[in-house]
């Protein structure tokens, strides 16, 4: 028994001594079935994954101004849409400029843009150190910088200066950078992209949708227009035109439709497939605006306004390319609309103020919701590049060149019918400026540009004042109150909010 006692005593003691040095390892529980940020990205395959992930944010529902197309709703082109009560307190206030810093959607948009910034920073910060093909490496970084520039351009237009994050782990208590600093980063990112990205024709078909040299140049042109630098805007717009990579779709509706998916007019496009969830590859952007009721394509937000409907030139084929009216038949589907939405809404004086109709710009053939999730949102169309070129040329005193590009856009809209949309011939700069601006409204209606075009050209208060727009306040959105609260005052609110 004594021997047994000894053995029984010795065993635990020995094991104790043996095991103790292994404590450190014993107490290390690594993350299971998931990579940690310490171990990613480290390979060429990782670099591709990280780059691809940067694009995905453009398909995220909240990338689209927080979920709902508030930019069009804030403009004179569109009303809230859906039935009168739907999201009245959430989206309705954007229609009438009564929204505040706590308004639903602002925080989602702000946060989602930074998710995208983080993903691009992962590529920009870590991919250069990966051992891999140098050309591909440079392309990945250029793709990421392109997207980062795109995201910050959303930021600077919506809020002005914002915290400028260029590393994966930003410090605490960042303050807002100046608007100029944000623009400087955008220009440098996009210039790097324009210098290093392949042209559209250099990508294989399966890679269409990736950032191109043309997309970077077109975006630079747009950025310079917002900076009122017409010389640079002209140059970059003409670079795109002269690259001979793009032409207009013969049929206007195809410019945003399935036939034109990653087509010849598409300069930057967000791919999606017909799957009813974002993680699976679908996009909710079209679903939010899709026809409500019968066929059940979506929620019916962003309804073309009476003002927009009435503003098209007589016979303009773009009306039917922009508005779906009740009773229309599209791709064999008859549009009956929604039972809970009045067909016509009148004010107290009997004036028609809203007509049940839907945006044609997001139409995808089919009679169900799932099809609508496959809508490819166009972020830059060649028609836009032509109109940007026209605008910049006119500002730079080159009216005749401007007319060439302007009339290309009108010619396509004419669809061979010589009785409508005559060529513009005036060379009066002021007159032409208004004509080009008006052309932008009709060519690009419901695509999210109208509000910002009104603001950047100083026309907002004149056009939107009656809707509630206040000069000196509504040019920018309020910084989400939640962000100001979290920063404990490091972030300062925009003026007059």
């Amino acid at each position: 028994m004594k021997i047994l006692a000894k053995i029984l005593f010795v065993i635990p003691a020995t094991i104790l001594l043996l095991v103790s040095p292994g404590c450190k390892k014993f107490l290390q529980k690594d993350l299971q079935s998931q990579l940690t940020q310490q171990s990613f990205p480290t390979t060429a395959a990782d670099a591709l994954l990280a780059t691809n992930a940067s694009y995905e944010i453009l398909r995220d529902w909240y990338y689209n101004s927080g979920g709902y197309p508030i930019l069009d709703i804030m403009s004179d082109d569109a009303r809230k849409g859906s039935n009168p009560g739907d999201q009245l307190n959430y989206v309705g206030p954007y229609d009438v400029f009564t929204f505040s810093a706590t308004q639903d959607g602002l925080d989602r948009w702000w946060n989602t843009l930074y998710v995208g910034v983080k993903r691009t920073n992962v590529v920009i910060q870590f991919v250069p150190d990966i051992q891999m093909d140098d050309a591909l490496k440079t392309r990945y970084v250029a793709e990421a910088k392109f997207i980062r520039g795109l995201l910050y351009f959303d930021f600077v237009r919506a809020w002005g200066g914002v915290p400028l994050v260029t590393t994966v782990n930003p410090p605490q208590h960042l303050t807002r950078a100046s608007k100029e600093d944000v623009y400087a980063l955008i220009i440098s990112d996009l210039q790097f992209a324009a210098d290093h990205l392949p042209m559209r024709s250099e990508y294989i078909a399966a890679d269409l949708g990736r950032a191109t040299k043309g997309a970077a140049q077109a975006l630079l042109a747009r950025v310079y227009l917002f900076m009122h630098d017409n010389v640079n805007a002209e140059q970059y717009a003409l670079d795109v035109i002269n690259s001979n990579q793009y032409v207009l779709e013969p049929v206007y509706a195809d410019a945003n439709g399935v036939n034109g998916n990653n087509g010849m007019e598409s300069v930057l496009e967000v791919g999606a497939i017909q799957v009813e969830n974002t993680d699976g590859g679908g996009a909710q952007y079209g679903n939010v605006q899709g026809v409500r009721g019968t066929p059940n394509k979506g929620w019916g937000f962003n309804r073309p306004s009476v003002d927009l409907r009435n503003s098209f030139e007589s016979g303009d084929t773009r009306y039917k390319g922009t508005v779906i009216d009740l009773g229309d038949t599209l791709d064999g589907v008859v549009i009956l609309g929604d039972g809970t939405t009045p067909d016509v809404t009148k004010d107290d004086l009997g004036n028609i103020i809203e007509v049940e109709c839907y945006s044609r710009k997001v139409w995808v053939p089919g009679d169900n919701v799932t099809t609508q999730w496959g809508f490819h949102r166009r972020l830059i169309r060649y028609a836009d590049v032509l109109l940007m070129a026209a605008e910049a040329l006119n500002e730079n005193g080159k009216q005749s060149e401007a007319l060439t590009y302007l009339n290309m856009v009108r010619a396509r809209a004419r669809q061979g019918n010589t009785n409508i949309l005559p060529d513009i011939t005036t060379t009066n700069q002021t007159e032409l400026r208004d004509i080009i601006f008006n052309e932008r409204r009709h060519e690009l209606a419901m695509e999210g540009w109208r509000f910002w075009d009104l603001v950047r050209t100083g026309r907002a208060v004149q056009v939107l004042g009656p809707l509630g727009f206040i000069s000196g306040k509504h040019e920018l959105l309020p910084v989400p109150q939640s962000e100001i609260d979290i920063s404990q005052g490091s972030l300062v609110q925009n003026p007059n909010w």
């Binding site: 028994m1 047994l4 006692a5 029984l8 005593f9 065993i11 635990p12 104790l16 014993f26 107490l27 529980k29 993350l31 299971q32 079935s33 998931q34 990579l35 940690t36 940020q37 171990s39 990613f40 990782d46 990280a50 780059t51 691809n52 992930a53 940067s54 694009y55 995905e56 398909r59 925080d107 989602r108 946060n111 930074y114 998710v115 995208g116 910034v117 983080k118 993903r119 920073n121 992962v122 915290p163 930003p170 605490q172 208590h173 960042l174 399966a206 269409l208 949708g209 990736r210 998916n261 990653n262 791919g271 993680d279 699976g280 590859g281 490819h376 939640s482 962000e483 609260d485 979290i486």
Partner: protein, 1018 residues
């Protein structure tokens, strides 16, 4: 030794075989005799014989035990021998045998419980030497309550302990809170069963438990360091008694019926039609002719509950054993819900030598739970004017809710599994004062969930398809396994030198816990028959039949059960002259949940106690038999967070679509940031206590003041948007503080008048719970929002100065009686005459979201219990009352109503014109009056007659005739009566989510149980 064991086994099987007819002898072990002494051992007070009393010849190892009749015989060698008689609970007596051959002995009942031994962490201590606050419940009280989970028996028994049933779902475990709610995370105590640390004891059979001790203050719990902050419940299972060589069998059989304890007053068909016509005129043509369906009556029925167990225990010179088998079955009062459990318990200790013990405990507990859909809620809301069936016998549609009976009919939801807990230990004593103990424990569990819904369609009356439809049959399965092993090594030093007594424990422990979960969903199963409840590839992906369940497949670790720990512990207890007690405890825990910098944390505690009654000057004060003062201070921890919170994760399921034909391309990038600086929550607890016994301990009083402050509580906070974590994403920080403080008392009275023995005790606890800090320097959220109702609207906000999970909504101030009154007050645009008047709390002249405010606390201010017991001859009677006051309930099931649901009967007192009501607004099917407000807050106070028992033990003479030692029969009732103002099924509304507590979203009601039982000892 081995032969003896075999012999025992033989006898055992023989006994079981013959059960009631075999006469048991114990003379099997008699050998050659020199001189035999015989006698009977009886109790001095009752004069009853004491079977199983131990008789040992002093100074030798020779001994025996009394038989069923209290008789013994022993062989002594010399006339000078002294016999030592002992029996549990009685004073030991020594008798010089002289030349006697018959020695009858009467043993005196020990009145005092002063020297009761209390189980504490890594050891035991005499109650008088205890410096901490520990509450104890013994076997006889544990088995009184008919419940699956033994912890239910603590309800109303121990001051400071709140046990609340979450619902009456068979197999559901209650929520346990010790001294308030100390964190926003899991606030449940840990359980230590025979030394094995675990999260719950639903697998244990109450009958296998000797005692449960609740460790409450820092002195008692600090030995469990990082897991002690919410308190510790020590559970000790039964062992064979040393010296009791005769095998004792115990059989208990109990069967009962469960009923719905209380129905909710809902409108009948007529009244519903009347109200509907008021809201929407013309809804019903002739309200006297509408049918009436009592949906509650349709879904509830009486259901049986069974509990059987058989155990055998005893000891030989070289081993102690306890083996038992139990079977528990509870049918639900709602069809298709039930719980069945088998428990096997095997506890053995082998005495290899006087210095070496080897032993094992082993519990195997397979179970089967069937879960019914939540038809309580749908029956509550179902329109009473609709019949459940159409004329052809098919299910009728119930708009907005679904037909509860159809839900039941198509439900097949099961959880099946087994839990196994086993421990091997060895204990070696050496150098007289030292004991080393090493134990290796396994806690393993496997659970399989299976949920099959056949394809079905409930049609509307017009033949169209209703919302209640399941197009393709679905079968979902989930598999969970988990394994914990714990290796604990302790060295104990115990020494008494003159007036000094020292007990010290040093320990080293390791633990590893891992768990995985896997599951999938299949659709379009070939047949509805259970024989086909298997998922084949085409049940996962078969586009031709509309099957695509690829995304339903999961295979992952359970993030809450994946960690390892290493701990060092030390406790020194020093007692001087039985008067002055000092205890110091220290535990250092290392956990894999934290990064290397914060991996280890130290948890010290100190306590002192003074047995005033032992002082000389107290000897004069005769009526005080006991007086002790004690105080303790210490730090404890809480680490109940998922293991992955510190890691910055990579999100790898990102898809981007490229190409003209839209091909998915894989992507991955940084997801949520981690917080590598995470550390333990720390609770600092101070306790002052007084224990006293008066009038020879007939009256006992124990009072405590506790103050428990938890800092560095782990909460999820929003981060600045520019961190790129995304909208509505949160990261865990140590960023909140909470305090709980209050008084606890237990008063006991125990006496005997003639042949009537009785006892009475009452205990109470006050709780002040307050959030001291949220967010703070991290620069983030200052409120935690939670408590979601069925429609996703949260109704609690925890913020500084309020209790955890405080209700949040509008304050009401009467009803708008007239248009003039409406115009005179700020009001919401939707408000009309007859509607609730919300208070303009911030005084800005309008009613909006900013006027929502604190409208009540789900945490009771006072909890109490009361126990009474009486014994007279063979009769025994006891009852237990339990309750709480000061807490509120949010009646959320009444709030969520976008459709014409049924109403509670208070709508009959609605406002119908000026002056008709100032509390009940005009009737409506939803909208303004159903905004979360204090209109839906009800008083949650209650007093419940938890348990009442009447038993009768047959006279020994009768039972002995049929070879039984004791036979007791009893009847009892659980939850017989509840006094409460709350109009729901039960005022016990608990949730494990501390910020979602006290919200009645329509729960499965707890039941009243009437049962009959028999208990046999033989």
């Amino acid at each position: 030794m081995y032969d003896n064991f075999l012999l025992k086994q033989k006898i055992f099987s023989k006994k079981v075989g013959l059960l009631l007819i075999l006469i048991l002898g114990i003379t099997v072990f008699s050998f050659a005799q020199v001189r035999t002494i015989k006698g009977v051992v009886t109790a001095s007070d009752t004069k009853e014989t004491l079977p199983g009393a131990t008789i040992v010849i002093k100074g030798t190892k020779t001994g025996t035990v009394t038989d069923l009749d209290g008789k013994y015989s022993i062989t002594a060698i010399t006339d000078k021998a002294v016999l030592v008689f002992s029996y549990v609970g009685y004073t030991t007596k020594e008798v010089d045998i002289g030349n006697q051959t018959v020695v009858d002995v009467q043993l005196d009942f020990k009145k005092t419980t002063l020297d009761e031994v209390v189980v504490i962490g890594y050891g035991t201590v005499r109650k008088s030497d205890l410096s901490g606050s520990v509450g104890s419940v013994k076997s006889e009280d544990i088995i009184k309550i008919t419940a699956l989970n033994p912890v239910q028996s603590l309800q109303g028994k121990v001051a400071g302990v709140q046990v609340t049933s979450t619902s009456g779902v068979p197999g559901e475990s209650p929520i346990v809170r010790i001294r308030g709610v100390g964190t926003f995370n899991s606030s449940s105590p840990i359980y230590v069963v025979d030394g094995i640390i675990m999260e719950g004891i639903a697998y244990l059979n109450s009958a296998d438990i000797t005692s449960m001790e609740v460790l409450k203050d820092a002195s008692a719990t600090a030995i469990y360091g990082s897991r002690g902050a919410n308190g510790v419940i020590m559970v000790t299972t039964k062992q064979g008694k040393i010296g009791q060589e005769k095998t004792t069998f115990n059989f208990t059989g109990e069967t009962g019926m469960q009923n719905l304890a209380k129905k909710i007053n809902l409108l009948n068909g007529h009244d519903f039609a009347m109200i509907s016509n008021e809201i929407k005129p013309g809804s019903f043509n002739n309200i006297d002719a509408v049918p009436n369906t009592d949906w509650q009556k349709l879904i509830f029925h009486t259901a049986p509950i069974y509990n059987f167990q058989l155990s055998a225990s005893g000891s030989t010179k070289s081993m102690q054993y306890y083996i038992s088998g139990g079977y528990f079955r509870q049918e639900g009062i709602i069809e298709k819900s039930k719980y069945e459990r088998i428990t096997l318990q095997l506890n053995n200790t082998y005495l290899l030598s006087p210095f070496v013990k080897l032993g094992n405990t082993l519990t195997l507990s397979p179970y089967m739970q069937r879960v019914a859909p939540n038809v309580t809620y749908s029956a509550y809301r179902a329109n009473p004017t609709l019949s459940p069936y159409y004329a052809d016998g098919t299910f009728a549609a119930v708009p907005g809710v679904g037909n509860p009976l159809a839900d039941l009919a198509y439900s097949n939801n099961f959880n099946k599994g087994i839990k196994g807990i086993g421990s091997l230990f060895t204990e070696i004593s050496f150098l007289k004062s030292f004991t080393v103990k090493s134990s290796f424990d396994i806690d393993a569990a496997y659970n399989k969930s299976e949920n099959f819904t056949p394809a079905f369609t409930v049609y509307n009356a017009d033949g169209t398809i209703s919302q209640q439809q399941h197009l393709l049959s679905t079968l979902s399965k989930g598999f969970n396994d988990n394994l914990t092993w714990i290796w604990e090594n302790t060295l104990t030093y115990q020494k008494e030198i003159k007036k000094h007594s020292v007990n010290a424990v040093f320990g080293y422990t390791m633990q590893n816990t891992s768990s995985t979960a896997m599951g999938m969903v299949g659709s379009n199963i070939l047949r509805d028959d259970p024989n086909f409840w298997f998922i084949l590839p085409n049940n996962i992906y078969d586009p031709a039949n509309g099957v695509n369940n690829i995304n339903s497949i999961y295979d992952r670790v359970d993030i809450n059960l994946n960690y390892s720990m290493i701990s060092y512990l030390l406790r020194v207890n020093y007692v001087f002259n039985n008067r002055y007690i000092l205890t110091a405890t220290f535990r250092s825990d290392g956990s894999s949940k934290f990064s290397e910098n914060n991996r280890y944390a130290n948890f010290p505690s100190f306590a002192a106690a003074w047995n005033v009654s032992q002082e000389k000057f107290m000897k004069e004060i005769k009526f005080i038999s006991k007086l002790k003062l004690r105080g303790s201070w210490g730090k404890l921890g809480n680490d109940k967070i998922p293991y992955n919170r510190r890691y910055a994760q990579v999100q790898s399921n990102i898809i981007t679509i490229f190409g003209t034909d839209g091909s998915p391309n894989s992507g991955a990038s940084y997801g949520l940031n981690g917080n590598p600086d995470l550390k333990w929550e720390v609770t600092t607890q101070t306790d002052f206590g007084l224990e006293t016994g008066l009038f020879n301990d007939r009256l006992t009083v124990e009072c405590d003041y506790y103050n428990k402050k938890t800092d560095d509580i782990l909460i999820d906070l929003s981060t600045p948007g520019y961190y790129g974590n995304g909208p509505n994403q949160k990261v865990t920080y140590n960023a909140a503080s909470v305090i709980n403080r209050g008084f606890e008392f237990t008063l006991g009275w125990r006496d005997q008048v003639g042949k009537v023995k009785y006892n009475f005790s009452i205990n109470g606890t006050t709780i002040h719970n307050e959030v001291l800090k949220i967010g703070g320097s991290s620069g983030v959220d200052s409120v935690l929002i939670g408590g979601y109702m069925g429609n996703g609207i949260p109704v609690t906000r925890s913020r500084v100065g309020l209790p955890i999970g405080a209700f949040y909504g509008y304050k009401t101030d009467g009803i708008f009686q007239s248009q003039a009154e409406l115009d005179a007050y700020p009001h919401d645009a939707q408000a009309g005459v007859g509607d609730l008047r919300f208070v303009d709390v911030n005084g800005d002249g309008k009613i909006d979201g900013n006027d929502r405010t604190y409208i009540g606390s789900p945490i009771p201010g006072f909890i109490f219990g009361c126990n009474f017991g009486l014994e007279f001859k063979g009769l025994d009677f006891s009852f237990n009352i339990q309750g709480q006051t000061g807490n509120k309930i949010f009646n959320a099931k009444d709030v969520v109503r976008p459709d014409p649901y049924n109403f509670e009967s208070n709508v009959l007192n609605r406002w119908t014109g000026p002056g008709t009501s100032t509390t009940e607004p005009r009737a409506s099917f939803g909208g303004y009056n159903y905004s979360p407000s204090d209109h839906f807050i009800q008083d949650g106070s209650f007093i419940r007659l938890r348990n009442i028992i009447l038993g009768y033990t047959l006279p020994a003479a009768w039972s002995n005739k049929i070879t039984m030692q004791t036979i007791r029969v009893y009847i009892k009732a659980d939850n017989l009566y509840t006094l409460t103002k709350y109009n729901g099924y039960t005022p016990e509304i608990a949730s494990g989510d501390v910020i979602g507590n006290g919200i009645d979203n329509g729960i499965y009601p707890i039941t009243a149980i009437f049962s009959f039982g028999v208990n046999l000892n033989f």
